[in-house]
Amino acid sequence: MIRTQQLLFQYNSETQFQFSDLQCKAGEATLITGASGTGKTTLLHLLGGLLKPTSGAIFINDVNICTLSAKKLDHFRGQNIGLILQKAYFIASLTVLENIELASWLTDNTKKREKAIELLSLLGLEQSASKLPSQLSVGQQQRVSIARALINQPKLLLADEPTSSLDDENAKIVAELLATLSQKYNAALIIVTHDQRLKERFKTTIEL
């Protein structure tokens, strides 16, 4: 579960974002929407520990990630936060399965091969395990990135415009997978989006 306190982020003296406090419990889903330029991605990066807030605090399972050292934060992120980005990026030279294994290896030095295969089959991708990411369609790639985000059983699942580059059918599949899998793994799900198709699926919405 995650909650924030008086988050403020300042790019420079003119651009600064003040975010109202938010909270999302394990197994629940929250949609963050808003026009572009309102700091959606900034908020997501703050929650994911990719940016440090100018002031305020973020608690993930009662750990204030703003006070962690860079190295500890990297480790904490790997263990507790799963990130799904607008465009799915992979290590191009590794296979789909190896990419997922890498995410677990980077966190705790173990390759959870069986779990990775289980996740891939949940996502309907068991056939693609030994392919290179570039051989998959965009929709499939996005599903692989969901598998990668879930491999370490994170407490928090963050998604940045996960459906914006997908067609209706794939968008629906991805939205459904995000919802069911975050519940199955008991993770708090926060999606940053302006995609109308997602607003229909998720009820809790915060407008920035």
Binding site: G78, I91, S93, L102, L106
Partner: protein
């Protein structure tokens, strides 16, 4: 896992990788070849001049005299009068003096007339048979025996001069009396007889009455004066001198050059001259090789730097998945070092292959072989460290860039 990613990444863009590895291989191959060649060359040359302070021979190029009489590599400068040489051989400064008379060859192996001292100088023992005592009895160097498959008691005919195709002396057959132990020095490739054999072989040719025949057939009871007369016009090729008194080392070259038709040359000085001549060439080649290594370093740098733009998302992604900054740094450095290690291993192998090829040709032409399986621990260790260092330097800028990557910015601008 880092190693696996580095390995897979290297082969994901095979052209860049292959180019870098080829350049590294070429430079390491040249350098390791030069290291081994120089080391073994100097060792072979130096080991052969042990126990020779001066060489007395006919006037001409001192280097040629040394090469021909000590290393059996060049044509002799000419012949010297045996009687005249003996004046110096019996000089009180002299500890040992070994006369050498070149005459014939057998299939390119020189037949050298000398004394038992020659074997002692090279610390060669007889592994089978006995020393030569009579004319036309020979002791074979170990390589000659091995290659020609000769045993004690075998007979063969020599050909005149140095050339394998020279006129065959079929009047007298040489008979193998003994076979010497291997020494790794020039003696392994020689056929040794007494000096009289060489004289006999050629006297016969020169005058039909065969003074030599007369000499050896009549044996012990021949007239001393007559023998003396014979010796007075007998010629030898060179004398290897070991001095008791090192004054001779300084005095003799000038003394002999001024007062006789001979010269005295110092192998140590001539070989130093030869090495310094070689040294310039070897040094130039070495610079060339290091130049190629520099280029391979630049090639690795460009390859890493160019892919950095595409790979920054990969790096951001790895950070998002829990990788630390230092893990990215290590990954980039590791990729470069991996190439360097592969290049070094291939280079050492290719260099030795080159040495093997050179060795087969020098063995054929100069009876000088190099061992491709020798490891020059210190020099090659330095070469290895240099290679790794080049890899580190090439990767340091890309690695630091990966280390300092701003993930939020990278992902937000995607």
């Amino acid at each position: 896992m880092i190693a696996k990613i580095a390995w897979k990444n290297s082969w994901f863009k095979p052209l860049n990788t292959v180019l870098s590895i080829i350049l590294l291989t070429a430079s390491v191959a040249i350098i390791s070849l030069l290291i081994l060649l120089q080391k073994q060359f100097e060792k072979q040359f130096s080991s052969n001049i042990d126990g020779v302070d001066l060489v007395i021979g006919a006037k001409g190029s001192p280097m040629q005299l040394i090469l021909s009489s000590v290393y059996q590599m060049d044509a002799p400068t000419g012949n010297i009068n045996y009687k005249e040489a003996q004046v110096w051989m019996k000089h009180p400064f002299v500890k040992t003096a070994i006369p050498l008379a070149f005459g014939d060859n057998y299939r390119g192996f020189r037949i050298v007339g000398t004394t038992e001292e020659y074997l002692k100088k090279y610390e060669a023992n007889l592994v089978s048979g006995t020393m030569f005592t009579k004319n036309f009895e020979v002791v074979l160097g170990s390589e000659v025996a091995r290659k020609m498959n000769f045993k004690v008691g075998d007979k063969f005919f020599g050909s005149h001069g140095d050339a394998e195709e020279g006129e065959v002396h079929d009047e007298y057959a040489y008979i193998v009396k003994g076979i010497a132990s291997p020494t790794g020095k020039v003696i392994d490739n020689l056929i040794l007889s007494n000096i009289e054999s060489v004289w006999a072989m050629h006297h016969h040719e020169e005058d039909a009455t065969a003074a030599a025949e007369h000499q050896h057939e009549e044996g012990d009871d021949h007239n001393h004066e007559e023998a003396h007369d014979h010796e007075s016009d007998h010629e030898i090729t060179a004398v290897l001198v070991k001095l008791k008194n090192k004054m001779g080392f300084i005095l003799w070259p000038r003394l002999i050059a001024q007062n006789t038709k001979m010269q005295a040359a110092s192998p140590a000085i001539e070989i130093n001259r030869l090495f310094s001549l070689f040294g310039i060439g070897l040094e130039a080649l070495q610079y060339l090789a290091y130049g190629i290594m520099l280029i391979s370093g630049i090639s690795i740098f460009i390859a890493l730097y160019n892919t950095l733009k595409e790979r920054k998302y990969e790096f951001a992604l790895m950070r998002v998945s829990g990788a630390s900054r230092s893990q990215l740094l290590i990954l980039v450095l590791f990729e470069s070092i991996l190439l360097c290690v592969i290049g070094f291993i291939l280079g050492t192998i290719v260099g030795r292959l080159g040495l093997y090829l050179i060795s087969t040709s020098t063995e054929e032409n100069y009876k000088m072989a190099f061992n491709p399986f020798e490891f020059a621990g210190k020099e090659e260790g330095i070469l290895f460290l240099t290679t790794i260092f080049v890899g580190l330097i090439a990767a340091v800028i890309p690695a630091v860039k990966a280390y300092r990557l701003n993930i939020s910015k990278t992902l937000a601008n995607a």
